[in-house]
């Protein structure tokens, strides 16, 4: 599913361009340090292989329609994440510039959705954790199907988020996601089955090609479990969070009669409150418009709330990012102190 230029605002498109360009630069640096000419040629030829493999259509059982291989997970298993990311990004650049798949500004989003997510999320956290270096058919099948499905679902979710944040389309987030996820779930399962079939064929006939897949560490497996748990808590369990005031709000209500103190009339307070109101893209853990609407109608009988899920997921990601960055900086500082 290629994101299209006309559905993006310049800010959202530009932000994803910056992320994807940064990842290309970083991956290129990683690859340059290895300086292996044979792998350079292999990457080029495998990029062309993805083009070619996408032309071989197959019938999807029970639907009467046909599909083709995406190739993201397969390339990552064969080349590793850095090289696969560069290879997939190059295929997407050619598709965008010469076959009008998406567009120039949407290229950043497409690289993120179809190259970054399978290479840096689906492969290390799902495929490698499940399949590792095992030659067990069951584990390869489970790894391929779950990683390909998760990669496609994350890509579809990302398309919906990019479209919603751009505010060009009037399709509501919940309708759009309900349309996108079931289709991509089906496509993901078929992609996983074909990827498993290709990997099995290669493992039987040319096992040396798969030698690059490394065994996951125990820490990585624990981390993966914790990330999945955090996602489940933020994404689903948050629906059932209590709507009663928390301890502080309860105490405030008991002492002053109000759950929140009203702000003072000082200009600095007003400026900061206005800035917070503008910057908070999910106020009160919900969509901006929806939270207003719910306040007006005061009717939300179903606990299932996409805005709350999104807030939970984004919150988990942001905390993960912040904690990871802090840890990285502290480690760097400790290493510098030890050197000096």
């Amino acid at each position: 599913m290629h994101m299209a230029d006309a559905l993006l605002s310049p800010v959202v498109g530009g932000a994803f361009w910056a992320v994807s360009a940064g990842m290309i630069g970083w991956s290129a640096k990683k690859i340059s340090n290895e300086a292996d000419g044979s792998k350079t040629v292999l990457m080029g030829v495998l990029g062309a292989f993805v083009f070619a493999a996408q032309m071989i259509n197959f019938t999807i059982p029970g639907t009467g329609s046909s599909g083709h291989l995406g190739g993201g997970l397969l390339l990552t298993v064969l080349l590793g994440p850095w090289r696969a990311f560069i290879t997939l990004a190059s295929v997407l650049v050619i598709q965008a510039l010469f076959f009008a798949d998406g567009g120039l500004l949407a290229l950043g989003c497409n690289i993120f959705n179809m190259a970054f997510l399978p290479s840096f999320i689906a492969w290390p956290f799902i495929y490698r954790t499940i399949a590792g270096v095992s030659s067990s058919q069951a584990r390869i099948a489970a790894g391929s199907i779950s990683a390909a499905t998760a990669g496609l679902l994350m890509g579809a979710m990302s398309v919906v988020l990019q479209t919603t944040l751009s505010a060009i389309s009037d399709l509501p987030f919940s309708t759009f996601i309900l349309f996108m996820l079931p289709i991509h779930l089906a496509i993901g399962i078929v992609e996983g089955v074909v990827t498993w079939g290709v990997l099995t064929f290669v493992a039987r006939n040319e096992p040396a090609l798969l030698a690059g897949s490394a065994k996951p560490s125990r820490i990585r497996m624990v981390a993966t479990g914790l990330v999945i748990l955090a996602m489940a808590t933020g994404g689903v369990l948050s629906w059932f969070a209590s709507s009663y005031p928390d301890g502080l709000e309860w105490s405030m209500a008991k002492t002053s009669g109000k759950e929140e103190l009203s702000s003072t009339e000082e200009p600095l307070h007003a400026i900061l409150a206005s800035a917070q109101e503008r910057l908070a893209f999910l106020p009160d853990y919900d969509f901006r418009n929806k939270s207003k609407m719910t306040e007006e109608t005061n009717a939300s009988p179903s606990p299932v709330n996409v805005g709350t899920s999104l807030s939970g997921l984004l919150g988990s990601f942001l905390v993960l990012l912040l904690a990871g960055s802090t840890g990285f900086l502290l480690r760097k500082r400790a290493a510098e102190t030890a050197h000096s």
Binding site: M43, V93, F98, F201, V202
Partner: protein, 248 residues
């Protein structure tokens, strides 16, 4: 993408451009950003920007039919999203005689027109720049050498492998009766076979390239920095785009 819709990798004819290729790519990026910054209900603003790809297509003598064909192939998702606006936003926007034009009609038209304008500009400009010049232009604007080499290799070998994949698909179709053998499992073996052939081809290519002095990068031409003429063209275009946004 089916075998009959296989991509045409043939090299486009080289057209002389008044600026360097790298400047043309920067101008294209600037143009796309300006078009996409046009508000949701401003159809006139998008149509004003259509003048630029129209000028490019007519001045360079680019055949319009292949561009339209590509736009048609790229359009289903856009049409779906535009239809969403058409159905969901029914607030009256204008009234023309007895016909009420809704906000959804305008925003849907803006989505479709933006797609046509940006993709026509992209395809017509890229049809003026042969791929080897495109690689040099990317180097000039600071794209990493590894990535440019990768793009050049993918483009070069796509010719060979699409041909090979097409032959494999044709052979499978000729041997399958009543749709048998067209399922994912058989196709996975076919793709696996293509993959193994591809990797052994990569080894042969690498050895041939090493024999000709290959050192992990395809450096055909050195990157050229932007000249004063290029910078002037960028500044003038920026002023023109700002004027278009302000006037329409």
């Amino acid at each position: 993408m089916t075998w009959r819709q296989r991509p045409d990798f043939s090299e486009p004819p080289s057209c002389p451009l008044p600026v360097s290729d790298s400047t043309a790519l920067l101008l294209l990026a600037m143009f796309v950003l300006f078009v996409l910054s046009v508000p949701k209900y401003d159809l006139a603003g998008v149509i004003a920007f259509a003048a630029i790809p129209s000028l490019l297509v007519t001045a360079a003598g680019i055949p319009f039919a292949p561009i339209m064909k590509r736009l048609f192939i790229a359009s289903p998702f856009i049409l779906f999203m535009a239809a969403g606006n058409l159905l969901l936003d029914r607030a009256p926007f204008h009234s023309l005689f007895d016909l009420t034009i809704t906000g959804g009609m305008i925003s849907a038209a803006v989505i479709v027109t933006k797609t046509m304008v940006t993709l026509t500009a992209l395809l017509s400009l890229l049809s003026c720049i042969p791929f080897h010049r495109f690689g040099t232009a990317l180097r000039s604007i600071g794209v990493p050498e590894v990535f440019v080499t990768q793009l050049l290799l993918v483009y070069r070998y796509s010719f060979l492998l699409t041909e090979e994949a097409g032959m494999m698909q044709k052979a499978r179709d000729l041997r399958s009766f009543g749709g048998k053998g067209n399922g994912p499992i058989v196709t996975a073996r076919l793709i696996g076979s293509l993959l193994i052939r591809t990797t052994s081809r990569a080894e042969r290519i690498y050895m041939a390239m090493c024999a000709r002095g290959f050192t992990a990068a395809l450096q055909s031409r050195p990157a050229a920095p932007l000249t004063i003429r290029d910078k002037a063209a960028l500044a003038l275009s920026l002023i023109m785009f700002i004027c278009l946004r302000l006037i329409f």
